[in-house]
Each structure stands twice: as C-alpha cells, then as structure tokens.
C-alpha cells in the first residue's frame, strides 16, 4: 500500500508538461530487428497519453561493444544527451555501480517487478535497489533442420557427441560439400564469450566461483575449450566461425546451408519469413550437454531500459520506461518485432501463441537459461578473457595455457578491484 501511494505521488507531482513548455525525452536504443518496428508506434501512444511530451528516438550503432563505448563516454562525461536508454543486461550492474542510472526502487511497485522473469530481474537489482526494468528477453538455443533430422531418423541431440555423430551421418548421406555442420559464434567479441560460457556450463564448469575467483573447475573448463576447438579441427564447424558473429552465422543457416545453429530467438522470426528457404523446416531445442553438465545451459540475455541519472525529467522518463516494459507494450513488441518478452505470462497468452506456436517451448528454455556472471566488472572480465579464448579457438594456444594465462590476468584485474 505505501509503495502504491508513493508511486501515485511520484507520478502525480512529477513533471507534468506545463502548457507552452514542451518536454522532449530522448530515447536511445539499438535497431529493432524483425518484420515491423513497433517502437515508433509505442512512442506515439505514449505521447498521446502525455500531452506536451515528445519522445525522440535515436538509434545506436549495431555492435554491442560500440554501444557500450558510446554510453561509457557520454555518461562518464557528465551531461549525457539522452534520458532513457536501452542497455544490454550485462551492463546494468556496471552502470548502477558507476552511478550513471537512476534508482527506480521508489517508482516501481513490487507487483510490477514480479511480473518479469526472475533471471531477468536479478541483474537489475543491486544492493537491494532496482536500477532498470527488463524490456525483452533472450536465451541461447539450438536451431536444427527438422527435415534433415527427420530424413535420417534423428531426434534433436541431447548431448554434443550425439550432435557430432548426427552431423557426420547427415553430411555423408547428403553428399553436399557446401552443407555445414554446426554453426556458432566464435569471433572475439561478447557473443563469442557467450558461446564459450555456454560450453563451460554445458560441462558443469563455471567462470567464477561464489567468491569471484576464476575457473573453479579447471579440468572441465579445459575440456569445454578443447571440445570447441575440436569442432573446427574435425570440420564439424567450418573454420570461419572463429570470425563469425550472429548475423554471419544466421544467414547461411537461413539459406539452408547448415544443419545446426546456435543462436538467439530473434532468428526464428527471420527463418519463418515467407521468402525464407528454410521456412517450416526449422526446429528449436535446448543446447546439448557435455559429459559433466546438463542440457539447456543456454545463456540468457536481452535488454533492459534505464533512466540516466542526470536526466532533467525524472518522473516522465521513468513513466516512459514503465510504459515500454508494460504488458501491453511488450505484447506489441512480440507481435511486431523479432523479440521475446520478459514477462512469463505473455508466453502462455492465447492470442500470442496462436501467432507464434514456439512461445511455450521458449518459455521452458528461458526458465532453464543462466545469466552471465552478475557483477559490475563483467565487461572488464569479458574483454580480458576474450583474447585468451579466441587464441584457443584459432588454435594458437592450448586450453591449458589459455586457462592459466586467463587466470593470471583475472587475478591481476581483481587485485585492482577488490583488494
């Protein structure tokens, strides 16, 4: 009750645009993929609900690393020229710790918080305070060609050695030299890190232990890395995956030139477009496991919406965030864009499921997914570890040496952060 009262008061005495003084909110977000971009429509609806308020949306660059650099440079400088921003989930603890985003605890009632996936909310809550609201959700999953697997009588593989066997069998049977086996993202960037993490988790290894120390299960981590390198050496995955990101792998699979693809849910919408060569032939499954791990250790991801700490229109900006993450807005996003909502209830919504029958299956995958380490220093860790992992994938370092060197680098980093 007090929270509700607080919200009403906060919403009430916040900035109502005084007539003659139009307020412009600047909303920075990345390009939304999919058949139709629902964001402009949503922003117009918000403007209609709040007369005198205009929302200007500005696009970020495509690359996640560049987006982060843009934010870091502008937020660190003092007065960033935007009010509401779309953040990759992994940045939220960092931005909160750096004091760049607004504490939303007082503005958002508990019921509204609980409507989102717990694993999406976890990174947004630091030191008991809420710093951002989830906007859409992602999880790493396995795409497979239903027609090819059915032709050889295979079910989606639950273990990676099964996947390798299936690839070999199918390729031998098809006799098509241009048919690739298993595509994944091995380029040296955050996406590559995600792939490596999923391989670690698939083998029951963690990146950090509870005390924040790196590689608590080094032998299993070594196995995971050796497995990834082995995929390339044995030809199950083509050599160019070590320089490939999401789009570079989605296209060949979407053109029908690969059997398996590790990807995010957005790709499914693109595979099901009318002109797609693989329309109706793509299935979705949890990521396989390695000997010591479990099935379905996909990495969760997605974007959150946060308010700049230096905004001059606090209440309005928070209103925009709450509006865009509301049930109605996320419904529109799911219908229009290749995005999946952060509200579990929408995955069982009859109307949405009728349009997209894969939603219930995705719900299960999302609930089994694991977040990347939730720490303000995640990005520092990732950029420190990426070169080491990349060296293993291209065959320049052995997994043992890479883990040893990576541990030394992380230890050095931690000495600066946590004395």
């Amino acid at each position: 009750m007090p929270a509700l009262l607080l919200t009403l008061i906060a919403g009430g005495c916040g900035e109502r645009a005084t007539p003659g003084a139009p307020v412009t909110l600047v909303f920075k977000h990345a390009k939304i993929l999919g058949p139709a971009d629902p964001v402009p429509g949503l922003l117009r609806r918000f403007e209609a609900l709040h007369p005198g308020v205009r929302v200007r949306s500005e696009a970020l660059t495509w690359s996640s690393d560049e987006q982060h650099q843009f934010y870091a440079i502008n937020l660190e400088g003092g007065s960033p020229p935007f009010d509401v921003m779309m953040l990759d989930v992994i940045w939220v603890p960092e931005f909160a710790r750096a004091g760049w985003i607004l504490d939303l605890t007082a503005f958002v009632p508990a019921a509204e918080r609980a409507a989102h996936f717990p694993s999406a909310l976890e990174p947004a809550v630091q030191e008991g305070k809420l710093w951002a609201l989830p906007w859409f959700m992602n999880v790493g999953l396995l795409y497979y060609r239903t027609d090819l697997l059915a032709k050889y009588g295979f079910a989606p593989p639950e273990a990676y050695d099964e996947l390798v066997r299936q690839v070999r069998r199918i390729r031998a049977g098809e006799g098509d030299p241009r048919l690739d086996g298993f595509l994944w993202q091995g380029k040296q960037y955050e996406g590559g890190m995600v792939n490596v993490l999923e391989a670690l988790w698939a083998n029951g290894a963690r990146l950090l232990d509870d005390a924040g120390r790196p590689f608590p299960e080094p032998a299993r981590a070594r196995e995971s890395l050796a497995f990834l390198r082995g995929l390339i050496e044995s030809g199950v995955s083509p050599g160019w995956v070590t320089a490939a990101d999401e789009e570079l792998t989605r296209r060949p699979f979407g053109d029908g030139r690969a059997i398996f693809l590790r990807g995010w849910p957005y790709a499914l919408d693109l595979f099901e477009l009318p002109a797609s060569p693989v329309r109706g032939k793509v299935g979705v499954a949890p990521l396989p496991r390695l000997p010591h791990g479990e099935v379905g250790a996909g990495s969760t991801g997605g974007a959150h919406l946060a308010v700049s700490a230096r905004t001059r229109h606090q209440a309005l900006a928070v209103e925009l965030v709450r509006f865009l993450t509301s049930d109605a807005a996320q419904r529109a996003m799911t219908e229009g864009a290749a995005l999946r909502p952060s509200r579990p209830s929408l995955y069982r919504d009859a109307a949405l499921v009728a349009r997209d029958p894969s939603l219930p299956a995705l719900l299960g995958l999302m609930q089994r997914g694991r977040p990347r380490p939730i720490t303000p220093y995640y990005l520092m860790l990732s950029t420190t570890l990426q070169p080491e992992f990349s060296a293993v994938l291209v065959g320049r370092k052995s997994p043992e040496r890479a883990i040893r060197d990576a541990t030394a680098q992380v230890d050095h980093l931690l000495r600066a952060i946590a004395p």
């Binding site: 650099q69 870091a72 660190e76 960092e94 710790r97 750096a98 040296q188 160019w240 070590t242 320089a243 303000p376 220093y377 520092m380 950029t383 420190t384 070169p387 990349s390 060296a391 994938l393 291209v394 065959g395 320049r396 370092k397 040496r401 060197d405 030394a408 680098q409 050095h412 980093l413 000495r415 600066a416 952060i417 004395p419």
Partner: protein, 285 residues
C-alpha cells in the same frame, strides 16, 4: 625590452603548451602507472610496482613485445631496402618528375585509417583484389593468425617506403656525376659504382632514416588497430594496441599507463642507442 626579455616572451607560449601537454603528461603517466586507477568505479589506490611485476610474467605482454619487435625489424628493413631501390630508380628521372613524386608520396600522405580500410578491402577473402589476382582463391589474409602479421607489414611498408625513398633520392641528387665518371675511368661500373661511390654517401642519411622509422614503427598504432584490431588471437597485437585495450576497453588506466611507460622507455632506449651509433659514424666518416 632587451633581447633576453624578448627571448623569454617568444619562447614562453610554446614552452607553456609543450610543458602542459607533453612534458606534464609524460611525468603524470609515470605516476599513473604506479596506481590502481579505474575512474569509472572511482578506484584510485597505490599499487607500487605491481603492474610492472605483473607485466614481467604476463604472456600477453610478451606476445605483444614479440609482435612489436618482429613488426619493427621486418617493416623497417623492407622499407629501407625498397626505399633505396626506388630512389635509385628515380635518380635518373628527367621527365615527369613532379608526377612521379606525386604518385610516390600519395601512399605516405594518406591518413593511416584510409590505408587500413584500403588494405582491409584488398585483403577481403571474396571481394578483395589480392585474391582475385591470385586466381580466385579465398585466402583469409586477415583472419589467419599466420598470415595477418605479414599482411599488416606489407600495408605498413607500402605506406612508409615513400618517405625513405624521398630522402635517399634527395641525397642521391647531391652526388656529383663527376664521381661516377671518375669511377668509370677506373673501370668501376654498375654494382661496383654502387658499392664504392653511392653506398658510402647514402649510408649516413639511411642511418638517420632508420632511426626515424624505427621509432615510428615502435609507436605505430593506427594501422594495426583499424586493420586487424590486434587479432586474430593477438597475432597482430603490438604493445600499443595492448595498452589501448587496457586503457579504454577494460578501463584500467593504471595498468594501461604502465604498458605505455614501457613503450616510452623502449623508444627512448632505441633513440639513445641510435644517436650514439650515428655520432660514432659521423666521427669516423
């Protein structure tokens, strides 16, 4: 106003700018390298020689040092050899000299980012001219750890040879033709003329050029950063790229400063060594 006053008046502005923007930062970076400094998280603590101790055993640092060394030595050797050759070819040029120099200096004058993007496109596996001329083989020049560094060196040599060529060419022009005529009388021609007349006169300028080019190669950043980003897997990551990543990617200002100081010390060491060598040369000449 006496001359002495005037001299200070004239010198002061330049010294102020240099002092504030070159000397002071040079000292400050030393100070930064002795700290744990991560401005984003307001971390600022004394570290002493921790960063240097870590660098001594850091494999990534030694890899970068190796890449820097190979890049410097090979690049400078190639551009000096090639530059001298171009200068010798240009020496007898009588017609269209300005056009010739313009074509030559173009490579040197272009922004390094332009050169990087240019070669990135030339090296493209399917759209690049290099693979096209090689008969359509899809060699991944910038994606193969074994090929990336040579590819980078070729781009750098292309960019810097004109500078060497120009300087050697200017020196060659000052050699009076009578020397060669006299040499011909003695029966020295072709290779011997080069070895006995040209080389001793060109050597001093070549040593100076060697110094400049070595210092530039040690400090090189733009080309490798834009062309390969230090990849793949660190095969083209020089000390400068490593320092940049530490500073602006992992935001470890103290650690990045330490790597910068190492580059600084290396450059100064090489400069002093070279200057001693040049001094000795000019004394014995």
């Amino acid at each position: 106003m006496t001359d002495r006053h005037l001299s200070w008046l004239f010198l002061a502005p330049a010294l102020l700018v240099l002092g504030g923007l070159t000397v002071y930062p040079a000292l400050w970076v030393l100070w930064l390298s002795l700290q744990y400094r991560i401005p984003v998280f307001s971390i600022a603590r004394w570290a002493g020689l921790e960063h240097y101790a870590f660098l001594a055993v850091d494999t990534r640092f030694w890899n970068a040092a190796g890449v820097t060394a190979v890049f410097t030595v090979v690049s400078v050797a190639l551009e000096c050899g090639l530059g001298l050759g171009v200068a010798l070819a240009l020496r007898g040029q009588r017609h269209w000299r300005r056009v010739a120099l313009a074509l030559l200096l173009l490579a040197w004058a272009l922004p390094s980012v332009v050169t990087a993007k240019m070669f990135e496109w030339l090296y493209h596996p399917s759209g690049g001219l290099v693979n096209f001329l090689l008969g359509g083989r899809a060699i991944n020049w910038l994606g193969d750890p074994a090929l990336a560094l040579p590819a980078l060196i070729v781009a750098d040599v292309w960019r810097t040879t004109p500078f060497v060529a120009l300087l050697c060419y200017a020196r060659l022009l000052t050699i009076p033709p009578e020397l060669y005529e006299a040499g011909q009388v003695d029966g020295a021609a072709g290779w011997q003329a080069f070895a006995r007349i040209t080389w001793p006169l060109v050597r001093p300028i070549l040593l100076v050029v060697l110094l400049f080019r070595t210092l530039d190669a040690l400090r090189a950043f733009d080309l490798m950063f834009v062309l390969t980003g230090g990849g793949p897997a660190g095969s083209t990551e020089t000390l400068t790229v490593y320092a940049y990543r530490a500073l602006f990617q992992t935001l470890q200002v103290g650690f990045g400063a330490a790597i910068g100081v190492v580059v600084f010390a290396l450059v100064m060491l090489v400069a002093v060594g070279y200057l001693r060598l040049i001094n000795r040369e000019s004394r014995t000449a």
